[in-house]
Point group: C2
């Protein structure tokens, strides 16, 4: 009998490359930039960026913070690295050392940039078109001199509802983006869309598409079946199998009570590994035996290190079995939905944990 204790995270770099290539084919006229911010959504920015640079020929990357750009610089050659949160006193050193390109989103950041320009770098300007997050509002754009505008190379904005094909905001933001661009930056390169906008068609793709979530296997166009390959699998060993008698409780604050005799498995993964605690009494894990997949409901509260599930109907469940926590038949998107959040947040949490046996494929 196999005795294991640690959860296992498999990250399929080959599938990330395939997803990148598929997205590039969907936007054939655009530069396909890879978004590797937040440590590549937790999957390891250095590994992911290196793979995309070497195997997919990616030469344009987006991160959120200067420090993230500095970390990937050694593996992406002379690629351009855009930094979405812009440049500041606390990131200046990273920008200088790694030759990063700031995305300037406010007049204050632009003033800072003008004092601390980096040789050979032309920043992007972010403009606000309806998301009401970062970006120059028109009144601030209007105050820029012609010389100021020539400081920039790319004009960038971001969609609020790109994952809803027919949402009125998409057309609204596209028209607003084109209006502002034509008026103030007619000769600049343009970037409007992340993964979700890329699926909205050529009008939304512009010169640079910024590929993040879909590249990692998330369905950013949920109005049709996911075309992306899954990039992660999470499994965790069963530490114990036990009988639960009718009337017994399970877990913290006794939120589950057995209505009949059950068999339970205690699995070695918990919210400390990034499994959302909101899956308590809601989520599932799976036991795969060849082609046969058994579903086991999570019962009771998820704790920091353990998930308890009902294996009454799982034939021959035993200590050492690997429960599939995220897999082809229970995807990140499924988990996001069941946990009351989005797959992006689940992914972002998972990969940063340090107790996984972490395997990179490819």
């Amino acid at each position: 009998m196999s005795v294991l204790t640690r959860p296992i995270l498999d990250i399929n770099l080959n599938n990330i490359v395939k997803n990148y290539e598929l997205l590039q084919r969907i936007a054939p006229k655009s530069i396909a930039a890879a978004v590797v911010k937040d440590d590549a959504y937790g999957l390891g920015a250095v590994k992911v960026a290196e793979k995309l640079y070497n195997d997919a020929g990616c030469r344009c990357f987006f991160v959120a913070h200067g420090i993230e750009g500095e970390r990937i610089r050694p593996v992406v050659g002379e690629s351009q690295i855009f930094v979405l949160q812009g440049i500041g006193e606390d990131s200046l050193e990273s920008f200088e050392k790694a030759g990063l390109t700031p995305v300037i989103a406010s007049p204050e950041q632009f003033e800072f940039w003008k004092k601390h320009k980096i040789n050979g770098i032309k920043p992007a300007i972010q403009i606000e078109t309806g998301l009401n997050r970062l970006g120059f509002r028109e009144k601030d754009i209007a105050r820029l001199s012609e010389k100021d505008k020539q400081e920039f190379d790319v004009v960038l904005s971001h969609l609020a509802c790109g994952d809803e094909k027919d949402h009125f905001m998409n057309e609204h933001q596209l028209l607003r983006f084109e209006e502002l661009k034509n008026k103030y930056f007619p000769k600049h390169k343009a970037s409007l869309s992340a993964s979700d906008g890329t699926f909205l068609g050529e009008r939304f793709q512009k010169d640079i598409v910024r590929l993040g979530a879909a590249m990692y296997g998330i369905n950013t166009a949920p109005y049709r079946e996911n075309q992306m390959l899954p990039c992660i699998t999470v499994k965790a060993p069963v530490l114990e199998i036990a009988d639960l008698d009718k009337g017994e409780f399970v877990g913290y604050s006794v939120t589950y009570r057995a209505a009949s005799n059950r068999k339970i498995a205690i699995v070695s993964i918990g919210y400390g590994d990034g499994i959302p605690r909101s899956l308590s009494n809601v989520g599932k894990v799976f036991f795969a035996e060849g082609n046969i997949v058994h579903e086991a409901r999570i019962i009771g509260r998820i704790s920091m290190d353990n998930v308890i599930c009902d294996v009454t109907d799982v034939k021959d469940a035993k200590v050492g079995d690997l429960a599939v926590v995220i897999g082809d038949f229970y995807t990140l998107d499924d988990i996001g939905r069941d946990a009351g959040t989005i797959s992006y947040e689940v992914l972002s949490r998972l990969g940063k944990n340090t107790r996984f046996i972490r395997n990179y494929i490819g």
Copy 2:
């Protein structure tokens, strides 16, 4: 005007020591063990363990996984390090290298232990008393020979409802623990309680109390005001201040619409840094000016890198200001409640992120 871009996480190691000492005074007859699993709930197990070893004289630690024990061994001298998830093929090397003490929770793990004993180590046995998580059930204990029982040094169990003073489970589990211990392990050392049980009084404290959450400032006895000192502060810079006109939307999926003209601040922290996305349209951030604290509601969806808040009533809010995301007046426990989870999960997520400017105090 100060221009910053990164969020800031301050970790007060001195307060962790003070909390540890306070808890030791509450359980003066017990060994006060420090629980540093899950990378010390995300705060950095090596830093925390080293500080407790040097400044508080702590000589007993608990982790969840062998790999976690191996990581702290260099900073805790000859201290005993218990490993709650037990020992397995994937952790054997850590156990041998670092001289760790497994907590054995199932007959299968015990068989494994007997084959792979480590010189000079006597494991603990975990017994099940009502949580229905890890632990020997009585039928499995009854099968142990006298010699088997003498393999163990400590008998351990865990409360399900220790944070609810008058919950019937507390007394139920205490009596069950004492019954099983007296029957099978009368001479062994006993450990029943984590932080929450420690507050339930001497009967629950036994030989070893396992101090985790309360040591990190969480209120594990929420039926009275928190006695613990806060151990973390999270701040993040305002990247942009903008006007929001009546009728305008904010954020992904346009979940917020302004009913009047507002002023908003875009703050450089998001769920990619561990701020729960479920605080969208619910949580708050704060702006402190000396003793005056202004509250700013989070509006719209929290995104990976940004939180947007309403600063209409925050006097003189400007780019570069630091928004307090977690502080003395909006604690981890407040965030846990507002996010629909518990402070433990919030803390566990936060500290593992790699974009913080991280300052250790003490």
